[in-house]
Subunit: 275 residues, 3 copies
């Protein structure tokens, strides 16, 4: 991965903004590599649940330079038997607990892309029972950023914890059923339906002939937010290439009263004349 010490390290945690945990992890990294460039990727992910963080990571990492080290800590099993792991994918490195958080990344990375981190000589000693972000993951990232090769940290494993993000299901030729994976800061509802899924459905008609049904409401698929009236719902291919339900200049999650896990159906207008 080269020997330039100015490597980027991103931090993704469920630590919120209400604690010095993130700052302390940065201190540990800078103690090891004073030239590391540390970026907060996201600290507001759902506490104790690795699946939202897994979605954020797999849709965000590619915007960082090759060689970036991504540290992901959503770790309810900290201190127990769950292993720390290191994964490689597309020239990026990932460290975190083996609880599914790195599952989708590892699937992309392919065989032999995941290692159990066992080299305790890289850890901060003594390792606490509650904060491996500080004692294990931050120092491992620091040493990786100095150029230590992944094989120094442990052996490849195949039995890491999979976490398959829910896939949309196509019911007949004319509709797709999906699910809300993430609610963003504006209340936009990010679904698990990718742009490519819609293209299949819309292959014989324009994508704008499709409508979304969610929570008893109907929303048109448009090209950008301002194509619906302020206060009205719509759907758009969002920045992560997934369909998002929005309310123009409003909060879709609050107005439609739906959150993570809610179901939506996409169909052509004629096939199902609306709710």
């Amino acid at each position: 991965m080269g020997d330039d010490a100015r490597r980027v390290i991103t931090l993704l945690t469920d630590f919120g903004g209400s604690d010095p945990f993130v700052g302390v992890m940065k201190g540990v990294i800078l103690e090891i590599n004073p030239d590391a460039v540390i970026v907060d990727l996201y600290h507001g992910t759902t506490a104790h649940d690795p699946s939202e963080a897994a979605f954020v990571l797999v849709t965000s990492y590619r915007y960082f330079p090759k060689g970036t080290i991504h540290v992901a800590v959503v770790d309810p099993g900290v201190g127990g038997p769950r292993r720390p792991i290191l994964a490689t994918c597309d020239g990026h490195l990932f460290v975190g607990p083996d609880n599914g958080l790195l599952g989708p990344i590892a699937e992309r990375g392919g065989p032999s892309s995941v290692r159990a981190i066992t080299a305790a000589r890289y850890f901060l000693q003594p390792v606490s029972a509650t904060f491996h972000g500080r004692d294990v993951f931050a120092p491992v990232a620091g040493h990786l950023s100095l150029g230590a090769e992944p094989d120094r940290f442990g052996h490849p494993i195949e039995d890491y914890v999979r976490l398959t993000l829910p896939r949309p299901s196509q019911r007949g030729a004319r509709s797709i059923t999906g699910e809300i994976l993430h609610v963003d800061r504006f209340g936009n509802l990010v679904t698990n339906i990718a742009g490519g899924d819609l293209e299949l459905l819309a292959s014989e008609r324009p994508m704008t002939s499709l409508v979304v049904q969610i929570a008893g409401r109907t929303a048109p698929i448009v090209a950008y937010y301002a194509q619906v009236a302020p206060g009205a719902p719509g759907a758009v291919i969002g920045s992560a290439d997934y369909l998002e339900i929005f309310v123009h200049q409003g909060d879709a999650s609050r107005l439609l009263r739906v959150g993570r896990g809610a179901e939506l159906v996409i169909s052509s207008e004629k096939a199902e004349p609306g709710a």
Copy 2:
């Protein structure tokens, strides 16, 4: 602007703390310029409303080094016809949507200080319909930080969107009526009345003879917070050189039940004997 790649880039958005949007913008910038020094200016500005962010930007930018590039993204019109623009002012550079957010900066910058950004070769391709912070503004800032001159990005325009922050009005010789522009983290109410406005009113008497009337309450103008009793309201020339209403060791916004847009009147004690 020199060719030192360690240029400061600030980020001002309405993305809050609850999303990876800001982190992803940093990834895009570091991919283009690994030596950029990225600073979070503020991400808690009112969503969908550029006027508060415009106030924050115009009162904050001068504390950064000359040559700093300020990226401002409050962008409800993203994906639609609103243009991306680049403004220069006092040796600082500003990029953001043309929706008034950069209006007060552009007014200060004077004629020919604003350009429409049209050079799509600097954008991340494909440009999404919902996240120009990532696809347009971050990469433009990254290239500016490498030394690309503003004229590479587009032609000067004069018809950018103005946004004039509300000015206080002087009623007679003895009072000024102003408005709350911003409520800070402590509940302090930042008004649009500058220190200079007060000096005009107080020219023939000490400034401390003036009183503020707001929400049926009266507050003295003092030199610092601790000059009023804990729990009592006061007013002080704040750090941005605007008058601020506060409650000592308390939250003025909650205790007085006022927020952005509320009116206040400043007068001499004798002229208007209080509410």
Copy 3:
């Protein structure tokens, strides 16, 4: 302290995430030292109350490299007669208001470790009445990071404001009474009982024979979170080496309805058979 300009500067404030205050402080520092490495330690500490921040600082600083400059701003007396001070401890530097915030650090630093900052030539002029983070503490930190020696900023003082964090009290040989000092993002209740205090109590029996009583509930002391069932309370030696009360995969503060200042008692199971 060396003359490498890439010194780490941490920021600890009660500014929350809802204001540009922190960003502006970074601008002031980078104007003075463009090579400073600025880290957010924590901005969510209780407003107007230096005692929680003092606890955070004294338990966090040692994870940063020697020579780090820690800027701490919880400053309800800003603009009044309280002094700005500079403390040294363990090769780290600390700047902040003299209101107890740096008291525990100064106690550790020993005699002559604290100076009143009086060298106004280092301040941003004019110094505002409300924001010494920007006008005093940030520029002092910037100049310290360039290698200016502490004695350039003012004379040693001995009469700085002490702030002694509450100590646990041992009642007889079999129980300790302590207090909650901090509630973290997960609702974990961080107590003032250190690992060493427990070892004294448990010297003749295993630590796991001890139980915690708090808010009418009993919690076992375990080695890590997952040793109790999801939803059940427990206690663990936390990452700062203090005992923490938690609810596995839940929020102890909400479920037990306790917060900062609440009392807890630790005893052996047989001595006090539970609440």
